[in-house]
Symmetry: C2
Subunit: 199 residues, 2 copies
């Protein structure tokens, strides 16, 4: 079911397909899950768990903040298959069902939080202008990936996905040096625990 949700979404996946692909009888499935919806919920939570560590852990690891952001964007992704999690937002049955949408909301929120932390590190390190809003940049990075999938599928070609990702990394680098301020000064309101001075 997890795979089928990724390939075809929730609404378009039938119990029959689940049975065929899993080799399990129809009755067994309904013995363990009261309905297709509950099965989908379990599958979705599993898909979120599959993706989250790979997204969040590298961001939490030590390393140069801007490089971590670039690395996050460059993580290999199958642009033409779409996002296991993000795709659910376009499924009308999922988007209108708060219970099914919850794992999706949660997954995006967790990645957002991790991104914001790294963006703050980058600002503190003088790699990004202090005038940038970390929430905006974090949402932009997530949107770039999700939107990249849309463009890639629309063209049946991963090129626009790669372009968008490369574009936002280019822009981050182009925006990098705060024109005149000294990198190590101008502290933000938070305690500068992970401040990092560029040479």
């Amino acid at each position: 079911m997890s795979d089928l949700m990724w390939e075809k979404g929730y609404a378009a996946t039938s119990p029959r397909e689940v049975r065929d692909r899993s080799g399990v009888g129809q009755g067994s499935m309904y013995h363990h899950f009261p309905s297709k919806r509950e099965l989908a919920l379990a599958a979705l939570e599993r898909n979120c768990q599959d993706l989250l560590p790979g997204s969040i852990d590298p961001l939490s690891a030590p390393g140069d903040p801007l490089e971590k952001l670039a690395g996050h964007m460059s993580t290999p992704r199958d642009a033409l298959k779409g996002c296991k999690v993000g795709r659910m937002t376009q499924d009308p049955l999922v988007a209108t069902d708060p219970g099914l949408l919850a794992p999706v909301t949660d997954a995006f929120e967790k990645v957002h939080t991790a991104l914001v932390a790294v963006i703050r590190e980058a600002i503190d390190a003088g790699e990004l202008p202090a005038a940038l809003d970390p929430d905006r940049i974090a949402s932009l990075l997530q949107a770039t990936i999700q939107g990249g999938y849309v463009l890639a599928i629309a063209r049946q070609d991963r090129a626009p996905y790669d372009e968008a990702v490369a574009g936002v990394v280019d822009l981050l680098r182009a925006a990098a040096p705060p024109p005149a301020a000294a990198p190590a000064s101008a502290p933000t309101t938070s305690t500068p625990t992970h401040r990092k001075v560029r040479p």
Copy 2:
């Protein structure tokens, strides 16, 4: 059908709903369209025509390039409803049907072309660094919008859409002044017809 495609996608829309909403008999529909697919194709082409002029015309109009890009991003959009066109890419029946996907491919391509032209103008005008790749930035801008919809629906809140859009505009502005080069020099390979010198 156009409305239903927007609200629920293609696969999730039944002929019965079309009949109910339009007040037309089932037979009438099949008199004009041989199948649901042909009806959907017509509806989709109509949706593309609805959106394209509003996206492209302002970009082709005269005006400051960077402001045109910012204006394109800030065009009011119903973030929680998703994109009439982009949403189709997540519908498995559409994505696997070249005939249905064609209008979508085409619409994105046309906006991309218009964006690239304006980005070149901005570079020629010295508003953006010449090192930026117009195709990348154009794909990034489109991805930001499409991905913003995904984030907004995931959170059932338009805030992340607005953040992403604001974020990319912030980055464009932050990247703006090419550090040291004279704005009016360093011509690109194309004839600089619409060159614009910043004071």
